[in-house]
């Protein structure tokens, strides 16, 4: 990690002062996770804080924090400090930008509450005019309920409507992780109907109801989570031919790779796919400029979809 400037490190220490509440006993690792530092960085910061104070700098005027192994203890109060310092403008803007990326508008109650309590200088609407994160429109109430259910390990019943479905279907799921990918948010969950992990686009969840039932988040393993969140590993692969009228662009086909450039300008690529619906639709949308070479099941899906679309147009 790059060495922090004096100003940057001071900001971190000022932020930590707000956590110095008399009686707090917490593990170093837990506190480090809370404040987004490594344990070693936090230990160094707390040691520095314990040397700071006000005149006459006797032990009674120093910041009352001690570290013993993995244990952090705040054994007194700092009379001069009255809770956490407000966010600087840059910090408030970063928080507002993060919420914007999660679909919260500048005038959403959550933004207004945060701005009122933590930042005197943030103008969230002005920020929105200069920094815009395009996010697939999901129902904020559903996002909030999913975040809470994911945190609390509460099973929920969601009404999910896939593209082309006339009505939503209900599924009972165990929410495990929220994911943002290229402008859309997804929920990874254990789906009890499918008896497997499933990923749901949050803007396609039409309704959500809590069950009040708690689940064990480790009951089905964690292979679908965290580091694997955006990985295409383990998925079947289709071989596609891109004619010279359609350039192969890697980011248009997530997880894909170019395997050969032919003399006539065509390109061959391998594209992973979770379901034939997705890849067939993308191939058909290229209107003959991309051909599926294999597997046959994807070729068949392409033909079926092209016939269906032809009948509609």
């Amino acid at each position: 990690m790059a060495k922090l400037s004096t100003a940057q490190r001071t900001r971190r220490l000022i932020a930590l002062l707000g956590r110095m509440e008399n009686g707090v006993v917490i593990s170093l690792a837990e506190m480090a996770a809370e404040v987004g530092s490594s344990s070693a960085e936090l230990a160094e910061d707390l040691t520095t804080l314990s040397l700071c104070g006000i005149a006459p700098y006797t032990p009674w005027e120093l910041v009352p924090v001690s570290i013993d192994g993995d244990r952090v203890e705040v054994f007194g109060s700092i009379p001069a400090m009255r809770g956490p310092v407000r966010l600087s403008l840059a910090e408030a803007e970063a928080l507002s930008a993060a919420l914007s990326a999660a679909g919260f508008s500048a005038d959403d109650p959550i933004n207004l509450k945060l701005a009122a309590a933590t930042s005197a200088s943030l103008d969230a609407e002005e920020l929105a005019r200069t920094l815009h994160t395009e996010t697939a429109k999901h129902d904020i109430a559903i996002f909030e309920a999913l975040a809470a259910a994911t945190r609390d390990h509460q099973a929920v019943v969601l009404a999910y409507q896939r593209d082309g479905d006339v009505a939503a279907r209900e599924r009972t799921v165990e929410p495990l992780q929220l994911l943002a990918d290229r402008g859309a948010w997804y929920l990874t969950a254990w789906c009890r109907e499918a008896d497997d992990f499933r990923t749901f686009r949050i803007d396609r969840i039409r309704n959500l109801q809590g069950t009040g039932e708690q689940f064990d988040p480790g009951a089905h393993g964690t292979s679908a989570l965290s580091a694997e969140a955006f990985s295409a590993r383990g998925l079947p692969v289709a071989r596609l031919r891109f004619t010279n009228q359609e350039s192969y662009i890697e980011r248009d086909w997530p997880g894909s790779r170019l395997i050969e450039r032919l003399e006539n300008g065509d390109e061959l690529a391998e594209v992973p796919f979770a379901g034939t619906d997705w890849i067939a639709r993308r191939v058909v949308a290229r209107l003959g400029r991309v051909e599926v070479l294999e597997p046959e099941v994807v070729r068949e899906a392409v033909v079926a979809l092209a016939r269906e679309e032809s009948s509609q147009h």
């Binding site: 002062l17 520095t48 400090m81 310092v85 959550i110 975040a147 929220l178 290229r182 016939r307």
Partner: protein, 325 residues
């Protein structure tokens, strides 16, 4: 020997503890870390820098109105008020922060980390498992460049950069950065190209060698136009292209796609009710991309006009069947 960081924290605590405005000389004698034998001018410069650093950390330090040269901490401006988030809102803040702190393409992760460190004790919520990938092409590079551009836009300084356009042609540009937007996994800069004297949109992933104008760093180089809104520069995929190629299109969302109309149109064009579906009048610049959009977002999305493009779509679908037949 006290470190600069210790001196700054000592100064923050001293200002917080002071019940009356204090002078620079009080600070010099009471705050550990200022060298007693330091020359006056050097002390004053250091004290000014220290005040700036503490202000950047969120402290509101004011000059006493009645006593010039005396300072006090504005306590109501410095300390956060109680934060009244309900359980769902608290979980949402945790989820957004947790996801974006781990995403290299989010350009403000250092500030977000500090923000969460400050408010974490006031948010009554455990962590929420979340991950993000806002930008998918070289996310760390995009995140780093956007952080620079956002700072330049904030202080209104011009930027120089190299840019390779979609035809592979590279050229240097000088731009007054007005704003940034993220769309479909890519960051974009909107600003006035000083050579062309008109607003342009640049793909951040195609930029290189970014340099913020170092001249007169505290003086803005430009003013943003009144009413500027970066969101108005976001287009749908088929709306990019030369202005002279623009044409009007009419699409219909059938009953099965009506619920997605608002999301798919993203505020562009005009929607009107049409029986169990919705009609969408929208301008377009790229004919192939319009056809791709119709199929990509189906079923239930139908192209009605222009007639020539409807026929092109039908021919294209026949070509798919021919290729895979």
């Amino acid at each position: 020997m006290y470190s600069a960081v210790e001196r700054l924290v000592n100064l923050a605590l001293y200002l917080a503890a002071a019940r009356v405005p204090v002078s620079a000389e009080d600070i010099r004698s009471e705050v550990l870390g200022y060298a007693p034998d330091q020359a006056d001018d050097a002390f004053k410069r250091q004290f000014e820098r220290d005040k700036d650093d503490l202000r950047t950390a969120g402290l509101v330090i004011r000059t006493d109105a009645e006593n010039e040269g005396y300072y006090r901490l504005d306590r109501s401006g410095t300390f956060a008020a109680p934060l009244d988030l309900n359980a769902e809102e608290a979980a949402s803040v945790r989820a957004a922060a947790s996801a974006l702190l781990g995403d290299a393409s989010f350009p403000f992760s250092d500030d977000l980390r500090l923000a969460m460190a400050k408010i974490t004790s006031t948010i009554d919520s455990g962590d929420v498992a979340a991950a993000a990938r806002l930008a998918d092409e070289d996310p760390a590079q995009q995140g780093s460049i956007v952080a620079q551009l956002a700072e330049a836009a904030s202080i209104r300084k011009s930027v120089d950069f190299g840019y390779t356009n979609s035809h592979g042609i590279s050229a240097p540009h000088r731009v007054d950065p007005y704003g940034l937007f993220l769309h479909d996994g890519r960051w974009y800069l909107v600003g006035r190209d000083t050579a062309l004297d008109e607003p342009r949109t640049y793909t951040v992933a195609r930029m290189s060698d970014i340099a913020v104008n170092p001249a007169r760093p505290k003086s803005p180089d430009f003013e943003r136009p009144d009413g500027f809104d970066v969101a108005s520069f976001v287009r749908l995929p088929f709306q990019y292209g030369p202005a002279q190629s623009r044409f009007d299109a009419l699409l219909r969302f059938g009953a099965s796609a009506r619920w997605r109309a608002s999301s798919l149109t993203a505020g562009h064009g005009e929607l009107e009710a049409d029986g169990d579906g919705m009609l969408w009048h929208v301008s377009a610049c790229s004919r192939p991309r319009l056809l791709q959009f119709v199929v990509d977002n189906g079923p239930g999305v139908h192209l009605l006009k222009p007639a020539g493009e409807v026929q092109a779509l039908q021919r294209g679908l026949k070509e798919v069947l021919s290729v895979h037949g």
